[in-house]
């Protein structure tokens, strides 16, 4: 129960930070994507279900405040969370390479999806330009941010795992 409340708070806090703090640290109009980090992180840390739910609510908040239609970003983030959940089985907390790789790929796919659905379909064909000037810079900036954000989330997650384990032992 507590875990759910903490995850819900994390989503809201990250959304608020994304729309405020991230704008101040933007370089050349590019902001890192905090929501992708937590969506992907909960996906591979806790499995498919957590990933897709965290993604859904991250996307839903984005939709309500910035989306043209409600459900668009929710759908993208949800599938990213679910796909990251598939890697839960080969995830070890000590290893940082897999999380980094997954977050980078997630952010790239997110950028590519948004470009395809919102830009390509309106006749903006300069794919290389958008990859070079929006998607790649965002990806690199997101990796940098991952080093700060991901360990915090990992620590919170492990704390809850310990608490759960302890209460199970007490129960037996």
């Amino acid at each position: 129960m507590w875990r759910k409340i903490v995850i819900a708070c994390t989503v809201v806090i990250c959304f608020v930070l994304q729309s405020t703090c991230m704008q101040w640290i933007s370089l050349g109009n590019i902001t890192p994507n905090l929501l992708i980090i937590i969506t992907a992180a909960y996906g591979f840390m806790r499995g498919k279900k957590s990933g897709l739910l965290v993604g859904f609510f991250c996307g839903l908040l984005t939709d309500i405040f910035f989306g043209e239609v409600i459900g668009f970003y929710a759908l993208i983030y949800m599938y990213i969370g679910y796909a990251n959940g598939l890697f839960h089985r080969i995830f070890f907390p000590e290893d940082i390479k897999l999380p980094l790789f997954l977050i980078v790929v997630s952010d790239f796919l997110y950028g590519l999806t948004v470009y395809t659905l919102m830009f390509l379909l309106r006749g903006r064909f300069e794919l290389i330009y958008y990859i070079g000037h929006i998607i790649l810079p965002e990806m690199i900036y997101t990796i940098v941010l991952t080093f700060f954000v991901y360990p915090v989330n990992l620590k919170i997650n492990r704390k809850f795992d310990e608490i759960e384990k302890r209460s199970e032992k007490k129960f037996v």
């Binding site: 405040f65 459900g71 929710a74 470009y115 919102m118 000037h133």
Partner: protein, 289 residues
């Protein structure tokens, strides 16, 4: 005994596959509903706004404070130099002002003659602070005033005397402003000097590249429009009030059809350093069918 005896007390867990499917259907449903009706806009905006807007307002307050302090320190030296320069220009300009006042007197007289007061009437405005912004793809941002302060959908937003955009979503305590430089924004404009109409379209690419947005469909066969001309919102726009400055033409090209022209303009507003905006409390009058 059968191996599939359910233990007492264990709850039934829905496999994540099915949750994914259900939520996908929900999302598609929501998309269809928001595309065809505006059923969800009200209540959803209300609930989400009450949760996040206070945080956003607080966080951005702190951020603006910190930014301002840093800027102040960095700017003191620049300001001293600038002060010297400005003192000189004040002298020069006070001469110009006298000339302009004479021109203005003449203009007022002419305007009365043409009975154009109505076009240049003063609108009621309200100031608002920017509290949040979108990611990298679209230039939308949130302001800290909403329905409770008398704002409504489609109200025009200005800053620095130029057009910023219009309100495209609103809750009780917040509103989203879609700016004219956003890639999906189109504004019907007109060249101030010749009254030729054109379409101003926001563009992420040219905005990133050179700080310009594009215009198209300008019909100007006598070649009267030149670089540097002002572009204002036209009177036939159904969302924007007429006569608000959008920007200045920087480039004009003749299209391959040899009839229309297109090109680029620099927006009058400095979107990179936007902090506070003015919302015009008036919605363009439209004819209901």
């Amino acid at each position: 005994m059968s191996p599939v005896v359910k233990k007492k007390g264990t709850r039934y867990h829905l496999p994540s596959k099915y949750i994914l499917l259900i939520l996908t259907i929900l999302c598609v449903g929501l998309m269809l509903i928001t595309l065809t009706t505006d059923l969800f806009r009200g209540p959803l905006n209300r609930v989400a706004g009450y949760i996040t807007t206070p945080f956003q307002a607080g966080v951005s307050e702190v951020g603006t404070y910190l930014n301002d302090r840093v800027d102040e320190l960095a700017q003191i030296r620049d300001l001293l130099e600038e002060n010297e320069r400005l003192k000189q220009t004040v002298d020069e300009q006070s001469l110009q002002i006298i000339q302009l006042q004479q021109d203005r007197y003449e203009l007022n007289n002419l305007r009365q003659l043409y009975d154009l007061d109505q076009e240049y009437q003063e609108y009621d405005k309200i100031g608002a602070r920017i509290i949040g912004a979108d990611g990298n793809w679209f230039s939308a941002f949130l302001i800290d005033k909403g329905e409770n302060d008398g704002l409504a959908l489609d109200m025009n937003v200005i800053a620095d005397g130029g057009l910023v955009g219009r309100i495209t979503a609103i809750g009780p305590t917040w509103a989203r402003v879609t700016s004219v430089i956003a890639d999906n924004a189109n504004v019907s404009g007109m060249v101030l000097s010749t009254s030729d109409r054109l379409i101003v379209s926001g563009s992420l690419e040219s905005m990133n590249r050179s700080g310009e947005i594009s215009f198209s469909q300008l019909i100007d066969s006598p070649n009267n429009v030149i670089v540097g001309d002002k572009i204002v919102t036209s009177s036939i726009s159904d969302k924007y009030l007429p006569g608000i400055l959008i920007g200045y033409i920087t480039k004009i090209n003749t299209d391959s059809n040899n009839l229309s022209k297109s090109g680029y303009l620099t927006p009058a507003v400095d979107f990179a350093h936007l902090d506070e905006v003015l919302v015009i409390l008036e919605v363009k009058q439209t004819v209901q069918e």
